[in-house]
């Protein structure tokens, strides 16, 4: 009776199996063949330009990055793709800021803030306001920098905002420019706390550097040096050469202020070495000048 039960089982269940599973799958799978929504051909070109620009930006080729971002912006403008436009305008404003072209950077950031030609997403608005605040920090205009940082912070309150810690850092820098050390300390601490929470390591380094700057202004050299060293560790791990130079110079200055130039010298030399590696001759020259101006240490 049970001579070939397995074969019997297969024959018995094959038909229902085919009818209930395999047959419907034949109809479902063509549906599977369509992947998630793909961007249009022109939008694809804009995306490619955006990616090329990003690569150029990473290589510090700002002119090339600008050209590609402009190309991407033109395409997205012709398609009236607000999201893509917002992203590219913010990028252009930021690249101009990095190039030191402040006016142009202001112009592009204003496009977002003035809703030109229409309203952009809040995240781009926050970015544009942050760039404005940074521009005013560079211009040593603490009042305007505080104004834009506060506006950005207000916008951040309403939405889930990853930029909050970064904006607190900018706000702290603005307060330092206003010589309001107490407020600067509070903002920097708040920034550090938020950046730690969201694990934004680069901004954590920035918070520490700002706090180190504040301690230096308060003449708490040991505390300042400790913070610079912490920031240096982070910046080194993220391979942020510019910031590494800032940290090393900060450490060197703390030693110098304590009348210990011999201990400051190795840090200056490290900063020179990094500048040489980056090909930043201007920075290298200015550090050498600092060394020359340094008072020789008196033997005890």
């Amino acid at each position: 009776m049970n001579r070939i039960p397995f074969l019997h089982l297969i024959l018995t269940y094959t038909r229902p199996l085919v009818l209930t599973i395999i047959f419907p799958l034949l109809f479902i799978c063509p549906g599977c063949s369509t992947g998630p929504h793909q961007p249009s051909e022109r939008q694809q070109i804009a995306i490619e330009s955006n990616q090329r620009a990003e690569n150029a930006y990473k290589k510090r080729n700002y002119i090339k990055a600008l050209n590609h971002y402009m190309e991407a912006l033109n395409i997205s403008r012709s398609l009236e793709n607000a999201d893509s436009m917002g992203s590219n305008i913010v990028n252009i404003a930021y690249v101009y800021y990095r190039m030191g072209e402040r006016e142009k950077s202001h112009t592009y950031a204003d496009l977002i803030i003035n809703k030109n030609p229409f309203e952009y997403s809040v995240r781009y608005l926050i970015d544009a306001m942050s760039i404005k605040a940074l521009l005013y920090c560079d211009e040593s205009n603490g009042k305007e920098a505080s104004f834009w940082a506060d506006k950005a912070l207000n916008l951040c309150q309403g939405v889930s905002c990853r930029e909050e810690g970064r904006i607190y850092n900018i706000r702290a820098r603005a307060s330092l420019l206003n010589k309001d050390i107490k407020a600067a300390t509070e903002y920097a601490k708040k920034g550090l706390e938020i950046n730690k929470k969201i694990d934004d390591v680069a901004e954590m380094g920035n918070s520490m550097r700002i706090m180190a700057d504040i301690e230096l202004m308060n003449k708490n050299y040991e505390a300042s040096r400790g913070l610079y060293k912490d920031a240096l560790l982070i910046d080194k791990s993220l391979e942020l050469s510019d910031k590494m130079i800032n940290d090393l110079l900060g450490i060197a200055v703390t030693f110098e202020k304590q009348g210990r130039p011999n201990e400051a010298l190795p840090y200056y030399r490290r900063a020179i070495s990094i500048s040489e590696g980056m090909g930043n001759m201007e920075m290298e020259k200015s550090i050498r000048e600092k060394i020359e101006k340094m008072q020789p240490q008196k033997n005890p």
């Binding site: 009776m1 049970n2 001579r3 070939i4 039960p5 019997h8 024959l11 799978c29 599977c32 063949s33 369509t34 992947g35 998630p36 929504h37 793909q38 961007p39 694809q44 804009a46 995306i47 490619e48 955006n50 990616q51 990003e54 930006y57 991407a72 999201d83 893509s84 992203s87 590219n88 913010v90 990028n91 930021y94 690249v95 800021y97 990095r98 995240r123 781009y124 970015d127 942050s130 760039i131 940074l134 930029e163 970064r166 904006i167 850092n169 900018i170 820098r173 920034g191 680069a202 901004e203 920035n206 550097r209 700002i210 510019d242 910031k243 800032n246």
Partner: protein, 314 residues
């Protein structure tokens, strides 16, 4: 209750059914093998021929041999002979042997800029006899880039020499051109001098008409001389210039011919570029289609525009 019955109708003649199934499968496999064999000319009669090449560059075992664009055989074996030349054994489908004559040649040609070279057999003359099995074909190697450049150099060299000669001829201070120019220059000087004389004469007309008349006679004589000289020079120019122009014309024709040759030689480049572009586009399309296909599509992240992260301390 039993699920199965030994007398179930579906199991009647089961062994025969399985046997039939296996037989059909075996026949199918055999059929496929035979089909592939036919496709690959395994069952075709072949005749072996040979040719000798200076080197084995561009020759590979299995490389196609073609006659008027038809594949008629392939390279079977490559070996070095006693004098270190490459002996190439080719097998030709016997049915095509009637076109391969004792005066047929074989050469290595490229069908396109991309891809392998093939061996092209030229059909021999009608009067010649069919080449026997094991016979040797006359091989013509493909021209290397160096050889093409050498040929081009040989073509350009005489033209450059002509141009050099013409320039030398024009620059030669004792040559006709320089002398003609010198004479024309002198003539200009004479005319200028004549004009100055006329000016002086006209100023003094009132004072001494008679003297002026005499001077005018002298002057007219001088002008006559000058005109005679000019005539001589112009005759000289008339005689020499056509020869010179002929030489220049000949050289320009040569240059034009070489330009045309170069143009012809490089005319394939745009076509090649078009082909490459087409291939790239095709590859892009295929990649795009594959990317969109499930389940690959679910693994591929859709590209999106990125915003640079604004840094608070740059």
């Amino acid at each position: 209750m039993a699920v199965m019955k030994e007398t179930d109708e579906r199991f009647q003649y089961l062994s025969k059914k399985i046997g039939l199934f296996v037989l059909i499968a075996i026949l199918g496999i055999a059929g496929i093998i035979v089909f592939i064999g036919i496709q690959r000319d395994v069952f075709t009669n072949k005749t072996k021929l040979y040719f000798i090449s200076e080197n084995g560059q561009g020759l590979n075992e299995g490389q196609a041999v073609k006659l008027s664009g038809f594949k008629i055989g392939k390279i079977e074996k490559l070996s070095l002979d006693d004098v270190a030349k490459v002996k190439v054994e080719i097998s030709i489908n016997t049915k095509y042997m009637k076109w391969i004559k004792t005066d047929s040649t074989i050469k290595l040609v490229k069908e396109g800029y991309i891809g392998d070279a093939v061996l092209e057999v030229t059909p021999g003359s009608v009067q010649a006899k069919q080449i026997p099995e094991g016979g040797y074909l006359n091989f013509q190697g493909a021209k290397s880039i160096n050889e093409i450049i050498e040929e081009l150099k040989d073509d350009i060299k005489p033209v450059l020499l002509d141009i050099k000669q013409i320039i030398h001829y024009i620059n030669d201070p004792k040559g006709d051109v320089k002398q003609i120019l010198g004479n024309v220059n002198k003539l200009s000087g004479d005319i200028q001098h004549t004009r100055e004389l006329i000016d002086t004469m006209l100023k003094n007309t009132d004072k001494n008409l008679e003297n002026t008349m005499k001077k005018t006679d002298t002057l007219l004589g001088s002008i006559k001389d000058t005109v005679d000289t000019t005539n001589t020079i112009l005759k000289n120019v008339e005689t020499k210039l056509p020869n010179m122009l002929d030489k220049v014309d000949k050289s320009l024709t040569d240059v034009q011919k070489i330009t045309d040759d170069i143009k012809h030689t490089t005319s394939g480049a745009p076509v090649l570029m078009d082909k490459v572009t087409d291939i790239t586009d095709d590859a892009k399309d295929i990649t795009g289609a594959v990317k969109k296909t499930w389940p690959i599509s679910s693994k591929i992240k859709i590209p999106e525009e990125k915003t640079i992260k604004v840094d608070s301390y740059e």
